[in-house]
Structures are given as structure tokens and as C-alpha cells.
Amino acid sequence: MALTVGFTFLLALYSCFKLDNNLYNPNANEISEYRLNDYTGEVEITVGDEYNIPVDNTHLFTLDNDGKAIYALYVGNLNTIESDTVILYCHGNKDHLDFYWPRIKLLANTGHKNRYGILSIDYQGYGLSEGTPSEENLYSDVATALNWLKDKGVSNDRLVLYGFSLGSAPAVYHSYGGSTISSPLTASKLILESPFASADVLVQDGAVIAMPKEFLTDLSINNAERIKDVSQPLLLFHGVSDDFLAMKTHGELVYKNHTGDKKALRIPDAKHDDVPFVMGYDDYLKEIHDFIVKKP
């Protein structure tokens, strides 16, 4: 019996299995090139041809993050980016820019077609971006994207950060003042859709009891606390029927803890990733546009 106790103790002490890697789903549908409109694999949402973007306004390129190539997609006119308002869209944990291309196109129709520039990246390990997904790399990759925007002349007052699901982590991280990875730009407004509250809430929702997250994960995603230091206006979307990140424990908590100007849209019957579809694309885009143009 003593041997069994000792074995179990040592197994626990030296074990390295955690939930963390299961959070990232970089290539459920692998690609060898980005095909955008010609992509025939699974996509997050489908949009009609009326949302198509002129080819001249679609720019695929790579950024360099400490030697790792990060693929980026800018939708808009690069000649006017200095004076445009840009939405940096931080996508979720699944797949790549082809998967999110319809969403990016949809966002590019906010206000009217190409009213705003849209930048999105594939995090390390996602799509064709090099590297391995990790929480720190999420933050660092988005910092790289912000650097690019800054180099192009985008300023804080014309930047909106939008985080969907996993993307809410880097979006909040680069909006609050305590980040250890420096944020080259600080967005003037923040949009969150189906956000995580924290790794703690994720674990405790599944456990039903107040189990420490350290039992299962080393993730330090903590939007619920970081949002307290975000003074920028917040627009939050969350599906009432979200059965992955429950609105009541995730979205509502993030919303509650934000103390600045804010608006929450709780979408009945919407689940985790169909909020725009259930809302209706016109209504969804109108909410975003109204939020962006609203004067403080």
C-alpha cells in the first residue's frame, strides 16, 4: 500500500498532462494555401455574394514574429489605411483565415462595403502560420499585428479590437494596462463576442463545484479581471443558448466587470458561434457600426 501511495504521489508530482493543448484547434481542416472565396472546406458562417470584397481590397501577407511567419489578411485600401478606422479581428480557436473568411467579409461590410479596414491573422500554428499555439503566442502574435498597423499609420483613436471566443483573450489583453507583452497600439473601442471569462470559470462550470483551475490547466486567461482595467467602450455579443461558454457565467461576468461605457447584446436562441446569423447580418453590422461611430 505504501508503494501505491508513493507511486501515485510521484505520478501526480511529475505528470504534465493538462487541458491546455486541447484549447487550440488550429487545423481541423488543414490547408496548403489560402483560397478565400475559392475555399470549399468548412467555414464558420456563410454569407451571400452581396458581401463579396473587390480583389484589389484583399491583401494576404506575412508578418514576422521573432522569426516565425504569421499570415495576415487585410481587407481594405492600403492607400488610405492611414486615415481609415480599422477593426483588428481576433478569431476563435478553430482552423484558420479560410474558415473565418466569410466573417471577415461580413465585417468588411460594416457601415457600407469597405467602410472600415479589417485585419485578421492566423496565430502561430494556425493555418500556414509557423510556430505552436500557446496563450503567450496569442498575445505576442496580436502584438505583431498591432505593430504592423502602427507602422502603416493607424492610431489608437482609429483602432477597434474585436475578439471572438478564444480571440477575446488577446483582445482584452491588449486593451488593459497590465500586459507584460507590450501593446504597440491601444484600441479606442473593444468588441467581444462569446468571450471567455477565465480559465477558472471554464473549469468550474464543468466541475459544478469551486475547483481550482490549476487542477486542470496552466492557462492564465483572465478576461473577467483584466476587463476591470479596460476603460475603452465595450460592445459585447453573447448567445443566450451558448452551450460552450455559458453567457451567464462567462459573458455576463466580463460585462459586469467592465466599468466604462458599454452595451451588451444577449441574443436569444444563439449558440456559441452563430450570433451574427441568428441576429441577422444587417442588425449585427448595424450594431457594430453604431458602436464605432458613437461619440464618447
Binding site: M1, T4, V5, T8, F9, L11, A12, L13, S15, C16, F17, K18, L19, N22, L23, N25, A28, N93, K94, A197, S198, D200, V201, L202, V203, Q204, D205, G206, A207, V208, I209, A210, M211, P212, K213, E214, F215, L216, D218, A224, E225, S241, D242, D243, F244, L245, A246, M247, K248, T249, L253, N257, K271
Partner: protein, 238 residues
């Protein structure tokens, strides 16, 4: 009617749901009821438990393969002391153990019926931040002998959350998790070994719709669990 929660066909979310379920529940108890029938004074036994709550994974409903090993010793007068180690929890870097004492009352000299109460204490600790958790549990089980060393049983198990708040200071909504179980104890021919099959319903009344693990449940709350327990006597009673 048993409802299988429909998956939305996204394999990775299934993986995360199942991983969450495996890891959460490997830590959070989910073993069969211990020592429904007490050990005789001086009797010693080792046990191995397999099984867990049912989850949806890759289109199938499967019990989470949790593993626990344990030891029990009869103290006489219907008392059995026992302790367990959770092997699956250990693979996730959590040292988890439980210590308990069961007391059985029989209806008569024939011992054809009985009731066992088993309070126990669960303890878990992880080694990155040395966070710990303690939670008491109380089982009450009625059993009936149906043959030589064969028993059927059914009862209730309550898991108690001592913390009043959860993450970010939010109120802890559930202080007691209520579970029920039905099972059967069967000997082998050699009598040195016996085994136990148990069906549990875990977290009665707790809404499971909006949590990442995808449990198999009747309706939108709780989860079914299936368990198998193998026992081996080390020494016989006086």
C-alpha cells in the same frame, strides 16, 4: 427518456468537452459506492475501480475511463475503514485521496437486509501552485442479499462544497451535489475476488446544458455514470 445531447459536429469542441469531463471528473470523485456490505473484523481487501460519468464523444456515448485503487479493513461491529487513491487524477498532476469509515446496520441475525452509512473526506492537491481542495461526502445505501455473497443495493450520495464563492468572488451556486446509485455485488467462484457493477445518476437537478463537458443525461441536468469495481481479499475475517 434518456436524452443524448446533440453535438454540433465540431470535433475539437468534442475533444475539449471530453478532456474537460475526463479531467474534471477524474478529480471530482465518481467512483462506485464503497463497502456497501461491511468487511468482517480483521478482513482486508484491495479494490480497483473503473468507469465514470457518461459523455458524448465522436458520436458515441462512453463512460469516462477513470481509475481508482483502494484498500479497506474491517474493524468489527459493522465498521469498515477505507481509503482510495485516484490514479487518473494523478496523470493530470493532481494527488487525490479519500478516507472514509462506513457503518452498517443489519435488520436481523440473518443479515439479509442492511443499511450502510459512509461518511468520507476527499482531498486533492496539485503541484504547480499547490492549490488544494477538501470536500466531504456522505453515502447512505440500502442493500439486500439475493444469494450467497450476492447483494443488490441502492442509495444516495451527497457531495458537499464547502466554499461559498467560486471564481471572481461569484456566489457558488451549488453547495450540495445529490447523486443516486443502484448496483449489484457478485462473488467469483474462488471467493477471493468479487466484483461490483453500479449505475449512478450524478448531480441531480444541476443544469448541464451550458457547460463544456457533454454529459449523457436524462433531460437537461446531471449525468449518468457506469462503474465497475474489482475487489480482492487479502485476509479473511475472524
Amino acid at each position: 427518456m434518456i436524452k443524448i445531447k446533440a453535438e454540433n459536429g465540431i470535433p475539437m469542441r468534442q475533444m475539449l468537452r471530453t478532456s474537460l469531463a475526463v479531467t474534471i471528473l477524474s478529480i471530482y470523485a465518481c467512483s462506485p459506492t464503497r463497502y456497501v456490505v461491511p468487511l468482517e473484523k480483521g478482513e482486508k481487501e484491495v479494490t480497483a475501480h473503473f468507469g465514470g460519468p457518461m459523455v458524448n464523444f465522436a458520436g458515441a456515448s462512453i463512460p469516462i475511463p477513470l481509475t481508482t485503487v483502494g484498500y479497506g479493513q474491517g474493524l468489527g461491529n459493522g465498521f469498515t475503514a477505507f481509503g482510495d487513491l485516484h490514479i487518473t487524477a494523478a496523470t493530470f498532476g493532481v494527488f487525490q485521496t479519500e478516507l472514509g469509515l462506513s457503518k452498517t446496520w443489519f435488520n436481523s441475525e440473518s443479515k439479509s437486509w442492511g443499511f450502510t452509512a459512509s461518511p468520507r473526506l476527499n482531498f486533492a492537491m496539485e503541484f504547480s501552485e499547490f492549490r488544494t481542495k477538501l470536500w466531504p461526502q456522505l453515502d447512505g445505501t440500502l442493500f439486500k442479499q439475493i444469494g450467497s455473497d450476492r447483494y443488490i443495493y441502492g442509495g444516495y450520495s451527497g457531495w458537499f462544497e464547502l466554499a461559498g464563492t467560486r471564481a471572481h468572488g461569484e456566489p457558488q451556486p451549488n453547495q450540495v451535489l445529490n447523486n443516486v446509485h443502484l448496483g449489484i455485488l457478485l462473488p467469483t467462484k474462488a471467493r477471493k475476488y468479487s466484483y461490483q457493477f453500479e449505475l449512478k445518476y450524478i448531480a441531480l437537478g444541476i443544469d448541464n446544458q451550458y457547460m463544456a463537458p457533454s454529459y449523457v443525461s436524462a433531460g437537461n441536468s446531471g449525468a449518468f455514470g457506469i462503474y465497475f469495481n474489482l475487489k480482492r481479499k487479502l485476509t479473511w475475517g475472524e
